[in-house]
């Protein structure tokens, strides 16, 4: 485990993403938009021919250019030129301070010659810290051991973008319910609701947690995530409405069925969301 202040020992190079997608200043904003869409990213460093950092272009810049119908202008005319950057040997603390102070989501990482060697995002830091702190391990707590019917609580930490492990909470809870002799139809509904909720976190959020509490008469599932939240819940609940990227759709998800599927699989369902902060689901499935 780590000492009191884990970030201070961690350096940017331990957490940054290398092989960064960059653009050149003479390319158009339209090309920047397409690159971001295809690569599913929200910002890119702009470099000169010597790979030196000269600016950054983000989704916000693309939206503004779109709004002003100026997508055919070169990136150099629309990019942000006063860019903060960080060095690979600097501490994660410094990156966090810059993120906090300026509200950025990413920082280009440059070497001493100002050449782009990586990029670091808040998500990279969250993922890496979760690994250090072992937050992604499954916890199971069995309480009230003296009762005839035991209560069980299972909790799972889910990371945004972690498609490899998506579905683990659903299959673990499913097995637990089967062990407890719960009827097949109920297990099935629970598995569908949890799987869709897991996919929602993986697709849309930075990270989230799923708690499943099994008691004598019901299965209570609480899903809470930190992420962009939902602006219009009524719209999000409509079958077919989706904000997922093309990349997600290629995996067979993002068809706008997730929340309606969860609702249809539960006996009671409530959703609350704060845009910019996150979303919480409360799912209840009666066991009798």
């Amino acid at each position: 485990m780590l000492n009191n202040n884990p970030q201070s020992k961690l350096r940017i190079e331990d957490m940054m993403t290398t092989g960064v997608i960059t653009v050149l200043p003479h390319m158009t904003m339209r090309q920047a938009k397409e690159t971001m869409r295809l690569k599913n990213i929200s910002g890119m460093p702009v470099i000169d021919h010597a790979n030196r950092l000269i600016g950054i272009v983000t989704v916000a810049d693309v939206i503004q250019a779109l709004d002003e119908q100026k997508l055919d202008l070169p990136i150099k005319e629309r990019m942000t030129t006063r860019v903060h950057s960080i060095k690979p040997y600097e501490s994660v603390n410094k990156a966090l301070a810059i993120f906090r102070q300026h509200g950025y989501g990413r920082l280009p990482v440059v070497d001493d010659q100002n050449r782009v060697v990586g990029i670091i995002t808040t998500n990279d830091i969250v993922k890496r810290l979760a690994k250090y702190l072992r937050l992604d391990e499954i916890e199971e707590i069995t309480d009230f051991p003296n009762k005839t019917v035991q209560n069980h609580t299972l909790s799972f930490n889910i990371k945004g973008g972690d498609f490899d492990r998506a579905g683990l909470a659903a299959s673990t809870i499913k097995k637990k319910l089967a062990e407890l002799g719960i009827s097949h139809d109920i297990i099935r509904r629970a598995a569908i609701a949890i799987y869709e909720a897991e996919m929602n976190i993986v697709i849309h959020a930075f990270e989230g947690q799923i708690w499943a509490h099994i008691s004598k008469d019901k299965l209570q599932i609480t899903v809470s995530d930190t992420g962009p939240g939902i602006e219009d819940i009524e719209q999000a609940m409509q079958v077919g409405f989706s904000t997922a990227t093309d990349q997600i759709r290629e995996l067979g998800f993002g068809a706008g069925m997730g929340l309606p599927n969860i609702k249809n699989s539960s006996d009671k369902f409530t959703i609350t969301s704060t845009p910019g902060k996150g979303t919480e689901l409360d799912i209840q499935i009666f066991l009798n």
């Binding site: 498609f163 579905g167 290629e250 067979g252 068809a255």
Partner: protein
Amino acid sequence: MKLKTVQKLLEAKVLTESLSWEDIDVMTACGADLMSDVLAFAREKNLLLTGLIYPQVLRTSEVLDIKAIVFVRGKIPPKEVIALAIEQKMPLLATKLSMFEACGRLYKEGLGQREANTDAE
């Protein structure tokens, strides 16, 4: 319908030969390329026909107790997906037929006729 019959009707190749599969019984089938649709519409003792070859297909099938998967349109999943299927004991078949024809052949021979299902393609 036995999986052996499904394999013959679809002229399908078996991708998971180490698993026993011939006598597995399927009651109906679901043809879809959207996993969310599969989650919404698939029933039990189901056969899944899909053109998607990602590991998510296996996870979805596990969650829904799908009995076997047929990849249509000549799609063959990567080795890792086949290895995962063997570990999960999920038989995989692959046919060159289109989704439409694969579903049609199975339906014509009586699969799922008492319990009409969805073809989301």
